[in-house]
Amino acid sequence: MPDILLAFVGGVTLLAALGVILSKEAVHSALFLTVHLLGIGALFLALNHQFLAVAQMLVYAGAVMVVFMFAVTTLSPEEEPLKLTGSDGFPLLGMVAGLGAFGAIYWGLSTSGLSGHKAVSDGLVAPSSFASDLFGPFLLPFEGTAFLLLTALIGAVLLGGRRQIGDG
């Protein structure tokens, strides 16, 4: 992938993320998030991983975002005007904390040095090789995710059910 295209995708992903946190309406945030997730998927592709790129786009930008949109439309929350300097001081506090965190991470990246890190190969990682890893050494975590999803499903049904617990 040419560098110019990569820079474009990266910029779109970053701007979409900015849009998520700055939109007044939750539904706009959700749409920005979709764009962001698709961008991340493209970046995965730039990192030569086919399977996760596709999974990111289908599962994340597709399925999970549907759940988000459903929740947003169900709740239809009122608009939340964004103030960068409020009486409660949170916007300022958030900016300072975020920039501090970024400073710390950037400092860590620059001091630890990435000169030793070299690309493994230029070829794409085939889904079949990832599959053999997933069903080989990572079988237990993989099966664990299945169990996790089942638990989350049951929890969601229990929480979202019409009847309250104990009503019989």
């Binding site: 998520v20 998030l33 030569n48 965190a101 990682v125 999803l149 989350a152």
Partner: protein
């Protein structure tokens, strides 16, 4: 640019911090959730980057599928978390008819 990890890592750090800021400055729990998704994705991006650009002495650190496997699990967790979290938010809304996190202060000491 595509052959060095710096671009991806700085991008990941930026997205992560945006998620962090969003989590603090927003009062809508849905948007806070989306901020969390941003942070998770930033972490995923870093995982994938390090999987593609492993350190020189990688042999001692694990297999090339470590990063993708983590990403895969994180995606599953994100999905599960979205389902359960949204269900909790909907339940709160049903009981209190408001989803402003600043109004939810029953844990005040």
């Amino acid at each position: 640019m595509a052959n060095s990890p710096e671009f991806f890592l700085v991008l990941s750090a930026l997205i992560f911090c945006l998620g962090l800021i969003g989590l603090i400055i927003r009062r809508n729990p849905l948007v806070m959730f989306m901020s969390i998704e941003l942070m998770l994705n930033a972490a995923n991006l870093a995982f994938m980057t390090f999987s593609r650009f492993p350190p020189a002495n990688r042999v001692s650190l694990g297999s090339p599928s470590d990063g993708p496997a983590f990403t895969f699990v994180v995606m599953t967790i994100a999905a599960a978390e979205a389902v359960v979290g949204l269900a909790i938010i909907i339940t709160i809304f049903r009981n209190r008819h408001s989803v402003d996190v600043d109004a939810l202060t029953s844990l005040k000491g």
